[in-house]
Symmetry: C2
Subunit: 368 residues, 2 copies
């Protein structure tokens, strides 16, 4: 594994819509890199594990859904790759058959910018399109109506901030922090337990929606079991943001109470945690489960430069601007991210010295 | 049939998005009235003609699509009514069966405001939702994947303006007109032939997408066979708009050439024209086909008042602002519709004297 780690912090909730300079559509190159890395792995899994003969025995339609698609273009690239892999598999299994018609369902929160998603759809696509608004923590499709489900860098977004983090009288009160960067076990427990609840609901819903033999691919930022949350790439990125907030508190620009009552609904699970949740659900066979990283030489964070600093700043802003604005107001955003950019030199040095064990979890399940 | 006719001029193309005072969402009460009128007829057709036993024999899912849904709320009301009728029919045919899960597909142009549609979805809906962007003049769904298709006040929008209308050397050149309000047969022919091409493609696409036994409901503004286009409710509404344009030409605000090169891509077919197109397609049985109107006492146009003038002005503006702005620029819009409102007194008098034979076509087909 490369010592130059990819930082992954992205997802479906509160991505910045439109196609302006701070939009998700223009600031999601990190996510695209992570899609490239897993492309081959998904292709392999489809070739080896997806039984197209039985999946297409009842009809000539094949339904794919991307849970937490945001506004593109990454979802279009991922869907295209998956579709091509499935076509190849179909042709090898059923060389004389008629390739099924594909319908791709793009899911994200109701607040996602579907207008941008729809107006930027690839013109040469070979599939029918549908957008599905709503939280993937719950049912979104009729029973047994999907053949392939995919979710990339979305499941690390929690459905909500665990309430105990805001309770001054609780041992989980997350004072002066905006994430489980604290070493307090009770804070981490609150995050972890919310993640467990969310994944339980996600897996139950997908188990209903997928046909027997259907595949579920999940890719999300993760942490190695032994690592504290403050030492993953994502944790470190957030810690510098946290520190920018505290500087603004010290200068009287925002109140301490405002920061105390703000927490990011994000969580990086370990492989062990996820394995337990999947087994507890019981509806899926685990076909593949591993930690992956961007291949050496492809990391965006190999070198500190004004360009990479700017990229990381834009990336963080695209992902977090909406959620931060909601709590603090839009007027602090420019100031906050300017401060943040200045701190990034330090972050790059830590990343280059091998710190920042951010990585991603790659899971392929098959519906029993 | 009431002598107080409902004027129908609405559809999917270029409806004004958002929920501002000129938005479609806030100015579609006329469309809602027409939905009320047909509600009972659809309920009857479902009760008498839709065979739920055979449609649900292969699975417990039921897929409904609204072609040209715009932004709501009318589509939500129509879908809810249809769903309830289907449930009742299912319960009467399969009293011990499990009611199927419904998935409703909301289709409209890519430029439709799906963000507004999705954020205003009824919270108490009993169906799964998907938005399908793209022109309904063409395939939008996998083969045999729909059980019920519906299109209300959308099919009178042509896919494009017939080119000959713009050709100065053609006998179809539509000088000084913006619609087939002229008595020139060649102009009407150009409109009628574009409508025929569009409906041909629409019916071919829906024939592919609907399962055998699936139902297709089409509601659209129509004209009685013997009536010229300038004497329907819609034609008269447009003629007053045309006249407002010409006033602006006379005052030098817009050029004559600009008006000559603008035509509304709208067409009201007669029952006879539509019948021929359906028969030529050959994939459907005609279950019901008639002209309908809003019941006496429900017409919005019974009385001329500042309120009804304002409503009609807003209605026309919601439907046409985008398409007019694209050609003439946004700066003429307020002026144009202010002039239009002044002319409406005359229109109301004509409507009240029984003129303005605007009405709508109600068609129920069943896939062979």
């Amino acid at each position: 594994m490369s010592s130059k780690e990819e930082i992954v912090l992205q997802g479906s909730l509160s991505m910045k819509g439109g196609d302006g300079i701070y939009s998700y559509a223009k600031n999601s190159s990190f996510q695209r890199k992570s899609a490239d890395v897993v492309r081959e792995k998904i292709d392999e899994a489809i070739a080896e594990k997806l039984d197209m003969k039985s999946l297409c025995s009842r009809g000539s339609r094949f339904h794919i859904a991307d849970f937490g698609c945001s506004t593109g273009p990454n979802t279009f690239i991922a869907m295209q790759n998956i579709l091509e892999s499935i076509e190849r598999k179909y042709q090898s299994q059923c060389p004389t058959g008629q390739i099924p018609e594909f319908q791709v369902f793009f899911n994200d929160q109701v607040s996602n910018d579907f207008n941008t998603l729809f107006t930027t759809l690839p013109l040469d696509r070979k599939y029918f399109v549908a957008g599905v608004p709503g939280p993937f923590h719950g049912r979104l499709f009729p029973a047994s109506s999907l053949h392939f489900a995919y979710s990339s860098t979305a499941l690390h977004w929690l459905s909500k901030v665990p309430e105990v983090l805001l309770d001054k009288n609780s041992p989980s009160f997350n004072k002066g922090r905006i994430y489980c960067t604290s070493t307090l076990d009770k804070v981490v427990d609150a995050y972890s337990s919310q993640f467990a609840k969310d994944i339980k609901i996600f897996l139950e819903a997908r188990a209903k929606e997928l046909v027997a033999g259907g595949m579920l691919v999940m890719i999300m930022p993760a942490k190695r079991n032994e690592n504290p949350h403050c030492q993953t790439g994502m944790g470190m990125c957030i810690e510098y943001l946290e520190s920018s907030f505290l500087d603004m508190v010290n200068e009287g620009i925002i109140s301490e109470a405002k920061v105390d009552s703000f927490n990011l609904p994000l969580y990086e699970a370990s492989l062990e945690e996820m394995m337990e949740l999947i087994q507890r659900n019981g509806s899926f066979n685990i076909e593949k489960m591993e930690l992956t990283t961007v291949a050496k030489g492809e990391s965006t964070f190999e070198n500190y430069s004004p360009y990479t600093v700017q990229m990381l700043k834009m990336h963080m802003r695209a992902g977090l601007e909406e959620i931060i604005s909601k709590h603090f107001g839009t007027e602090i955003i420019d100031d906050l991210f300017d401060r943040y950019a200045i701190k990034l030199e330090n972050l790059f040095h830590r990343l280059q010295s091998g710190k920042g064990k951010g990585t991603q979890m790659f899971v392929i399940l098959k519906r029993k």
